[in-house]
Amino acid sequence: MESEDDMHDANEIASVEEEDDYYSGGEDEEEEDMDEEGEAGEDDYSYDYADEDDDDDTGDYDFIANYSDDGDDALASRSQKSFTILKEEDIEQRQEEDITKISTVLSIPREAACILLRRYNWSVNNVHEEWFANEEVVRKAVGLLEKPFVKLPNFKEVACGICFENYSCDSLRSAACAHLFCDACWKGRGSRIFSFRFPSFLGELKLCKRATNSYISTSINDGPGCLTLRCPDPSCGAAVGQDMIDMLASDEDRKKYRRYLLRSYVEDSRKIKWCPAPGCDSAVEYVVGSGSYDVSCSCSHSFCWNCIEEAHRPVDCETVAKWVMKNSAESENMNWILANSKPCPKCKRPIEKNQGCMHMTCTPPCKFEFCWLCLGAWSDHGERTGGFYACNRYEAAKQEGVYDEAERRREMAKNSLERYTHYYERWASNQSSRQKALADLQQMQSIHLEKLSEVQSQPESQLKFIIEAWQQIVECRRVLKWTYAYGYYLPEQEATKKKVFEYLQGEAEAGLERLHQCAEKELMNYLNSDGPSKDFNDFRTKLAGLTSVTRNYFENLVRALENGLSDVDSEAASINTTTSSKNAAGTSKGKSGRGKGSSKAGNTSVRNTADDSGNWTCDQCTYMNVSSAPTCHMCHQRR
């Protein structure tokens, strides 16, 4: 089980925590945010549904606001690490420290401390409590005797209690109880080889006795129960500790015993769990009560420490369990959906999705650009429609009859299945996009980065922004995926919440598509160019900008959804019913630290219109913002 990973030192633990803890770590980033906020000064308002003239209901909802909300408490909670990754040697070290602690405090031998700790699930505190409450009872329960309760016989020769052969007293051994057994019965006859001569036609039969035929090896080979081994005498409960195992077991069995002991430290502990990734030997210690259960192992697998499923923020474990169950129940119906090809909506040739982005382009000569999810023309998507990316809007799509394309789907799917299908398909799509992005990230790191560095004459250290972009894409795909499970369980009757949710999700999707597209397709130009491109620095600025904007947006999305969109009810209602009193509604909520809502009204007058509808393109990130937004939806850049 020793792997190369053992070579890594403790430094790695620290660095991994910081890098991978998307939502809880990153103090630096936090500080930046604070600075930005500071500069923004009077623009530090809560909700950004600024405009007076617009009743494009959800269109104005924005949670940039949550940003300025990251007050001191948020900073404090985020700076705490909620988990620690433990490599095998870290586990060993902690175990050893705990054992030493107990051994010292209770003045008992190491092996006794070990037995006690195992009994109380490796909780040093519990051992202390129980021991000092009633040492006698504890001793008896785990078989730690203070003195032998059997008197050693006075005879020179004594029969071993297992094989019944006579031995001289001093060649027998016992646990603390003085029930004597011979070495052969304790530990087997070791490597002794019995050779029997058989008639020549049978050849020579060598019985090589590996020490399976002994009390200790039988127990060790039976499994982790060997950690509570007791004296063979059925009436006796004296513990057989690690000291005796080390003295009497074969090398192989000693290793197995240690392995069980190590596993016990993780598996019996309430604070540590193994990383569930196949082939990973690390464990993750979680600080109970520190918020999100999402943890990220050094092997790059992120999972929920509570339910061991893959990481699933912003949805809770219960929803995940429901969703996973639902999926397995519906999986037969779903098989047809997962077929990895769809006909091009224009020329009907089958198109296989091989890029992670949802923006598809049919092969020449057709070259029709369409959306993989709804098979609608890509031109109907995204900012060009002046609003938002529409593909998450199932109800709308259904009403518009986009689904007519799938006659078969209609026939076989009743309404409920169809609804589920909508969410499942998008959930699964993002899942496979994430897998693809992970593979792309790896390829980027192993191949493309070097090539790009050569082509563009840039040191690889200057190309980190590309890796960061891809890491962000992978993470966003994961979040986006779970938002579909979130959406599926969002109660139908909460119409406003649903609208807001779909809007936020749509924005997230659009933002991610933009980032994905930039990191996937635009990068290709620079990768395949003949020499350094003049505008490579512009590309760097754009991609890095998109990455940071998308990261911020998703962080906010996760928090908003985790709060159950709790801000929505009253405020969204106000969006719908009022036009001019919105600012009042925003401030009247009276949330602490957010009372600057009224200051923004002044901004709305200094606007440059970018097109007929008043929508404008952000200079910094190119996002097309609706006319009513005083700052960019994506990057907060002021207009």
């Binding site: 297992i162 019944f164 006859r189 019995f194 035929n213 009390y215 063979p232 005498d233 059925p234």
Partner: protein
């Protein structure tokens, strides 16, 4: 070793032979009350006659225990069953399998055939009622093809009887 259920079993190890010979000698000198070993030349399978203890529900009744020893006896437990017809008892199935922890999980190599016999007799004697286990039919059906009781995952739920 000619019996079907023992044919798949490996011959006794030297240690097992020695130990069983000693147990046999001890048995002959000092047999547990109520038991009679039908001595054969097969050391690996003992057939033992059990006489219900006087003053119990099984007084005057005689049953037969069949004890098969594995290669690594006594590190591994022997297989102990009643030869049908088995006594009517809440922990004894009609196919002769016995629900008794020391025969399985709680076996210790310091136990002997004699100590097993004493446990079984005490289990019989303490029974207040002559009846089969509640799940007898289901269990016996599942045990077709001569499955050993040692392959059963026993759940010892009742210490009273």
């Amino acid at each position: 070793m000619t019996s079907p259920s023992a044919s798949s079993r490996k011959a006794l190890s030297k240690i097992a032979c020695n130990r069983l010979q000693k147990e046999l000698v001890e048995w002959q000198v000092n047999p547990p009350t109520g038991f009679k070993h039908k001595v054969t030349d097969n050391l690996q399978r003992w057939v033992i006659e059990v006489n219900g203890a006087p003053g119990t529900l099984y007084a005057g009744e005689t049953y037969q225990l069949q004890v098969d020893f594995p290669e690594h006896y006594p590190m591994e437990a022997p297989q102990v069953i009643f030869v049908p017809p088995a006594p009517l008892h809440p922990h004894i199935y009609s196919n002769g399998h016995i629900c008794l922890d020391i025969l399985y999980d709680s076996w210790s190599p310091a136990m002997t055939v004699s100590s097993i016999c004493i446990s079984i007799l005490s289990m019989l004697s303490s029974s207040p009622v002559k009846q089969r286990p509640a799940d007898n039919d289901r269990y016996v059906k599942n045990c077709k093809n001569g499955r050993s009781p040692k392959e059963t995952r026993w759940w010892f739920h009742d210490d009273k009887v």
